[in-house]
């Protein structure tokens, strides 16, 4: 338990900030290659440190009280950094993904000088801070840091009209979510008088879940659910992705959105786990997760702007992750964690490839790009590999996640969720495969003959992220390959499922978190999780999803053949599509409706 690993905790947050400050001060005077190399070196260093931390957490959580304010009789004024295996694993994912996107951005944006890199490093620091801190106000502060860097990165292509509009919508909605979270925190603070997670957990243990406790939970969780793009807080995400630069989209979809879920679950287990009944939370998370997965996949299929398509796919998959995590067991959380890892590689690779297509051909529209990438074999292979990783074909990491989830879901008594998993993966991957077949293989009728509704959905008209590229740079390809291989590695590494399930068990142990942070109690031993591995049913479901995805892709490519089937579905989707207006007032109205719904879901059963 003693040792130097806890010294790494603040370094993971402070190092990117210091280098970013250096880039702000000296960047305009340094050659572009130096700026790139500094940023990549920093991200690599943070990745290495996170890996060391992950190994160290294998023997128990690592705790570092800042300012030397060690707790005395479980009470303190300071702020802790706490890393358990889930937090360290997320920290590693964040840093690795940032490194890949910085490598990809080697050729990007000459006119922003070093500011893009400084912003990405600040974004990295914000995410690391959110994951590693053990104080609730601190979580909100780092959440805001992530947000601010995110708004700037989204709007960085100032010449693009949808970029600045999307960034402004993103900024207003996410900031309002953060303010509601802060309000919830203050309400809780008034009752309890503490701000650190372990202390809050102590104070609320065996506390009756009265109106104040439930209200504070609902409000605090709102900010995180906005970030996680759960329905009906999700409207900002497709707007933000529609014209953020591709490496930024990769970071958002790969890990930022999932951190919202992390926040909700961490808050629940450490602080509210012994006051709000888990069954209550499970119901609320299931309702949200299912709604999100269904809406995300349905909207995904109708998009023609590739980045918006992928954005809705992210929403759908995060809904699935929420559903898996809603089982609230080590297997369920472990499955969700593996799915996050596998999905991160897949969706990031897809975004980076889309960015490449945009830069080579000047469009991100599925119909405009028809057949234009015909000669690019390497990109074709990578695109389809990433699409298969997205759908959950074994042995990708997503498939391992589904396999373990199958066990958790069936033991918890919700077998219908398996059908949801299969369908949602199939529909989203079907849309991706359809677009890939159109762009790379020129399959299906040429655009003049295919059905589309250009005035109903955003077209893929977008400014290039960078000056036009004649050939695909090696750095961009390398980043994409690493991501796809990463998604594969998650599924293939031996005992991967067992390791993640044990990490999940440690994550669920909220009172252990408080004990270890406040009184240096030794870590409790963990159980074995024999079911956390490939299962025949899981593998079968993965293959089934893939076949269905191919079927949906065909449905999308040749819609004239199945016009009768499609027409009611399209009619049904029309009002849903009409809700996605791009109007910030609508988004805020839905935000409040969502908070009310969440309050009803969590609070009414406790009356």
């Amino acid at each position: 338990m003693h040792g130097t690993a806890q010294l790494l905790l603040p370094v993971l947050v402070a190092a990117p900030i210091l280098v970013a400050c250096l880039l702000v001060a000296a960047g305009p005077f340094l050659p572009r290659r130096i700026v790139d190399s500094l940023a990549i070196a920093t991200a690599l260093a943070v990745t290495a440190a996170a890996a060391l931390l992950l190994v160290a957490t294998g023997s128990g959580r690592r705790v570092s009280w800042s300012g030397g304010w060690q707790p005395v009789r479980r009470v303190t004024v300071g702020i802790p950094f706490v890393a358990d295996p889930v937090a360290a694993g997320l920290a590693l994912l964040i840093a690795a993904l940032t490194t890949c996107t910085l490598v990809y951005a080697w050729h990007y944006f000459d006119e922003t000088e070093s500011h893009l890199h400084a912003l990405i490093l600040f974004f990295l620091a914000g995410m690391e801070g959110l994951v590693l801190t053990g104080d609730l106000f601190d979580m909100i502060v780092f959440f805001e840091l992530m947000g601010v860097a995110g708004y700037a990165l989204t709007g960085i292509k100032v010449e693009d009209e949808s970029a600045v509009e999307g960034a402004l919508n993103f900024g207003i909605v996410n900031s309002l979510g953060a303010y509601l979270s802060l309000a919830g925190l203050v309400v809780l603070y008034a009752r309890v008088g503490k701000l650190d997670l372990p202390g809050l957990g102590d104070a609320l243990a065996h506390h009756p879940p009265d109106a104040l406790v439930v209200a504070s939970f609902v409000l605090i969780v709102t900010g995180f659910l906005v970030k996680a793009a759960m329905v009906p807080f999700h409207f900002w995400l497709p707007d933000a992705h529609a014209s953020a630069p591709a490496p930024v989209c990769a970071l958002f979809s790969g890990v930022m959105v999932e951190l919202g879920l992390y926040g909700v679950l961490r808050l629940f287990w450490v602080v509210y786990g012994e006051t709000i009944p888990p069954a209550d939370l499970r119901r609320a998370l299931l309702v949200l997760g299912v709604a999100t997965a269904v809406l995300g996949s349905a909207m995904c299929f109708g998009q023609r702007h590739l980045k918006r398509l992928l954005a809705f796919s992210t929403i759908a998959h995060v809904g699935l992750i929420m559903v898996m995590a809603a089982m609230l067991t080590p297997d369920g959380i472990g499955a969700a964690g593996l799915y996050v890892l596998g999905h991160a590689g897949a969706i990031s690779a897809l975004f980076l490839i889309t960015g490449l297509l945009l830069n080579r051909h000047g469009s991100a529209d599925e119909l405009d790009l028809f057949g234009r990438a015909r000669g690019e074999r390497v990109l074709l292979v990578l695109f389809f590999a990433a699409a298969l990783a997205l759908v959950g074909l074994p042995p990708f990491g997503t498939a391992l996640g589904v396999s373990i989830a199958v066990h958790a879901i069936v033991s918890a008594g919700y077998p219908w969720i398996l059908a949801l998993l299969v369908l949602v993966s199939a529909v989203t991957a079907g849309a991706v495969l359809r677009s890939g077949m159109r762009v790379f293989l020129a399959v299906g009728p040429a655009p003049e003959h295919s059905q589309s509704a250009p005035d109903e959905t955003t077209t893929g008209d977008e400014e290039r992220d960078t000056r036009p590229l004649q050939r695909t740079p090696g750095t961009m390809l390398a980043a994409i390959v690493v991501l796809v291989l990463g998604s594969l590695a998650v599924g293939v590494l031996p005992h991967g499922g067992e390791v993640v399930a044990k990490a999940a068990e440690r994550f669920i142990d909220g009172s252990g978190y408080s004990d270890q942070a406040l009184s240096s109690a030794p870590p409790t031993p963990l159980h074995a999780h024999p079911a956390a591995t490939w299962s025949p049913l899981g593998v079968g479901l993965g293959v089934l999803s893939t076949l269905l995805a191919l079927g949906f892709a065909a449905l999308g490519l040749w819609p004239d053949r199945l016009r009768l089937l499609l027409r009611p579905m399209q009619a049904g989707m029309k009002p849903v599509r009409a809700l996605h207006t791009g109007h910030v007032g609508d988004y805020v109205a839905w935000l409040f409706a969502g908070v009310a719904a969440l309050a009803a879901l969590v609070g009414l059963p406790l009356l």
């Binding site: 600045v164 509009e165 402004l168 900024g171 303010y179 309000a183 203050v186 603070y189 109708g302 409040f592």
Partner: protein, 115 residues
């Protein structure tokens, strides 16, 4: 009424959000967001208040044994205020660019993102 201050805070958050919902001008929407944030400050300071206590700064007139109001919420508020000024600046910068690209800042007329 002993909860009046808290209700004022809640009202500010709601009226700020109402402003964003009904807004016809993005700068107005950003400023309404600031109003909503102001509500959280009022809530913070109200929670920390004690009748008859003084400011948490000790000196020749205030000995460390006197009753003071809660310094933690004041600390949270003061850093938040300065930060929110810069975040508002960021959102206003985006509004400036929206105006340049779209020629309007009326949310009803911004139509680049739909479906």
């Amino acid at each position: 009424m002993s909860i009046y201050a808290y209700l004022v805070a809640g009202y500010l958050v709601l009226i700020g959000s109402y402003g964003i919902v009904r807004s016809r001008h993005m700068v107005h929407a950003v400023v309404s967001l600031s109003v909503a944030q102001g509500g959280t400050y009022v809530l913070l300071l109200a929670v920390g208040y004690q009748r008859g206590a003084t400011a948490p700064v000790f000196g020749s007139t205030t000995k460390p044994s006197t009753d003071v109001v809660d310094p933690v919420v004041q600390a949270m508020t003061l850093t938040d205020i300065v930060v929110s000024a810069t975040v508002t600046a960021l959102l206003l910068a985006l509004a400036v660019q929206v105006n340049k690209r779209h020629g309007t800042v009326d949310p009803d007329e911004l139509a680049a993102l739909k479906g």
